[in-house]
Amino acid sequence: MTLFKSLRVRLSQGTQYIPDLRGAVPSGFRGLPILAVGACGPECNECRAACPTGAIALDPLRLDLGRCVFCQACVEACPDEKIRFSSEPKMGAARREELVLHSGAAEKTRVRASASFSRIFGRSLKMRQVSAGGCNACELELNAIANVNFDVQRFGIEWVASPRHADALVLTGPLTRNMKAAVELAWEAMPDPRFLVAVGACAISGGLYEGAPGVDRTFLESVGPSLFVPGCPPHPLTFINAVLDFLGVD
């Protein structure tokens, strides 16, 4: 009996993996913002005032993906429809300053493959995730990269339980004071070569918790991330594409 029930489940499951992770665009996703070309109204400050994380700068209009929590408050506040969100998930960057979007800037690849990273990790990357004040949204999305839909293991990319087995430390959350010692221990336990990935607005900039009393980001001042994955939380495709770009995997 159990065998037949199990076969029924297998039949209902079908084939779930997304064949083309590099080209997939999640339907309805609030992803990469697009800033319109042209000057804003004189002394208009609506979008910047509405932004909960100070992600917007004016004259000219700029938007920092490392701070953005994709709440759409700026879109609702703007009288001229200067900002809109597309469903493009690819938003990762290898340098912090490249997360700042400019009005009307041409499309560009923000993550460039590094030859040495590609040689060392391109065929096998083991990652250890540590949450330091994350709200479990980033953590769930990072879990999802290994599910039947995204199946990132197909690229030799996997989560590991011990930092001793890890090549990358993937941090989420704004980095709490109470996790400072544990994060440092995890990093110290990792063998070289190793690198750090900051996932989500909290980890990249502190996000909604920048300067909050329970937050201590000094670890990030001494160890800079090699890869930034924006979002609140980032879509699994945002993370996967950023990592694949970084490793030079097609």
């Binding site: 709200c135 999305e141 709490t176 109470n178 009393p213």
Partner: protein
């Protein structure tokens, strides 16, 4: 606020005891520091669903005689009260900090765990970093061989300072922040916040808006119950459950994304209304997705519930009796798995759940099996409710209502039954209409002790299953 009775401290304490013994349930108990005094507030709910609030004031040095020895359910509230205000609480058995707020980072690693002496006993320390992609917390097991005598759970690693942060911003623009109190319960916390702010600013919503929010809340419940069952299956080694429940969760959260742009419902609920759209074409897709989830859910449930592996591992594991659940003041699906029928959706005096009631669910045994069963039962009930709701709904294009100024000297309590249990936001305004106190309460705050007690006399290898069956939030507790 003037209508709230302020009692003398001893009378207040007696009143809390009297009400609890008369069958009223403490919804929340919190304090606010005022120079050398602390103002303490307790909210109760009786069986008819009425909420009453009492307050008292005590000096920090004199404090009051603790309630925990008489009412163990209040242990977490009094520990928090002591930690946040410094008020002296005498005769409390265990004033260990909940989250080490404002203390040196070394404090969290130097506070002693409970000890049991004995030659054949050993301790197992786990955390704060665990083996999976999961939030941090410390677990200390006191074991005799493989058997767990006692488990102490120390949290606080996720403490960011949400309650302080909430008071710094514009009270009408806090939704993005409150969506991150517990990111897997974004809708529940956002709705509690919006309900409180709308009540303070005299903003009445149309019933359609209430329905739209309830649809989002039930979708969140469906997604997280599926996620929990997937995780539980993985911990059991029942891989077909792990992959199939996980795949159905993807459909649920992608449906949420179609409605509001985020798989976690970010932006779905906003003060004065909603941030979701439902054009006709999308409505058909949403209905189709829910139909698919319900259909395939029946197939995997049939396999999961009949499987000998699943039954063998879950039945009798992590038992939490009804008496313990009541004594510890547990809430939500965990309480309902132990036969305690607490569900805010069943006690609504108005709104969507009052207009279209949801079938109540209850399990009696209180073991991991019951906690899996309650999630399956609630999943089915929510899917039925969603389908009924979406069958009668056509579109959600009500514009958001403007919010007026916050009414002065008010105390508002907002209660939303999230997938874990009751989310409670208590807000106070000053005489000038400023937000002066914001107490957040995730159901996990009360339920963690339930997990610790349920693990006793089980094998240490059963802990992951017990933990997953409770599925509590670390960040929701740590704030």
């Amino acid at each position: 606020m003037d209508a709230v009775p302020v009692l003398e401290t001893t009378a207040w304490r007696d009143d809390v005891l009297r009400r609890s013994r008369a069958g009223e349930r403490v919804l929340t108990l919190y304090g606010k520091r005022l120079e050398h005094e602390v103002s303490m507030t307790a909210a109760f709910r009786d069986e008819a669903g009425r909420v009453e609030i009492t307050r008292t004031r005590a000096t920090i040095e004199r404090g009051y005689h603790g309630l925990t020895s008489d009412l163990p359910a209040l242990h977490c509230f009094e520990r928090e009260l002591h930690e946040q205000t410094g008020v002296r609480i005498t005769a409390h058995p265990w004033l260990k900090p909940i989250r080490y707020e404002g203390q040196e980072p070394s404090a969290i690693s130097s506070y002693p765990f409970y000890k049991i002496e004995g030659k054949e006993l050993h301790e197992v320390a786990v955390g704060p970093i665990h083996a999976g992609v999961i939030e941090p917390g410390s677990f200390r097991f006191m074991c005799h061989g493989e058997q767990v005598h006692h488990l102490e759970i120390q949290l606080g690693y996720q403490h960011r300072g949400v309650e302080q942060r909430v008071l710094e911003g514009d009270p009408k623009r806090l939704a993005p922040l409150l969506e991150t109190v517990a990111g897997d319960s974004s809708i529940a916390h956002a709705w509690a916040y919006c309900a409180a702010i709308e009540s303070l600013s005299g903003c009445d919503l149309e019933i359609e808006t209430e329905f739209a929010r309830a649809v989002a809340l039930e979708l969140e419940r469906v997604a997280m119950h599926l996620s929990g069952l997937s995780g539980l299956s993985a911990d059991l080694g029942f891989l077909q459950g792990a992959t199939t429940y996980g795949r159905l969760r993807t459909t649920a959260i992608n449906t949420m994304m179609r409605l509001c742009g985020s798989r976690f419902g970010r932006g779905a609920v906003r003060p004065g209304g909603i941030g979701m759209v439902l054009p006709a074409g999308l409505l058909a897709d949403v209905r189709a997705n829910l139909g698919l989830v319900r259909e395939d859910l029946a197939v995997i449930n049939d396999c999961f519930l009949e499987s000998a592996t699943v039954q063998h591992r879950l039945r009798g594991t992590g038992m939490l009796s009804r008496a313990h659940a009541v004594e510890l003041g547990l809430v939500g699906m965990v309480a309902r798995a132990s036969g305690v029928a607490i569900d805010a959706r069943q006690q609504m005096l108005e709104g969507a759940y009052q207009v279209m009631p949801l079938e109540p669910q209850l399990q009696e045994d209180g073991d991991c099996w019951s906690r899996a069963r309650i999630r399956i039962a609630e999943l089915e009930a929510s899917l039925v409710w969603l389908q009924r709701c979406l069958a009668r709904c056509d579109t959600w294009d009500q514009p958001r209502k403007p919010l007026g100024a916050l009414a002065p000297s008010q105390l508002v309590l907002a209660l939303v039954e999230g997938w874990r249990g009751e989310v409670i936001h208590s807000i106070e305004t000053s005489k000038g209409g400023q937000l002066v106190h914001y107490k957040l309460q995730d159901p996990s705050f009360r339920n963690w002790m339930g997990l610790a007690i349920s693990v006793r006399q089980n094998e240490i290898a059963d802990f992951p299953i017990c933990n997953k069956s409770f599925d509590l939030s670390y960040c929701g507790n740590d704030l």
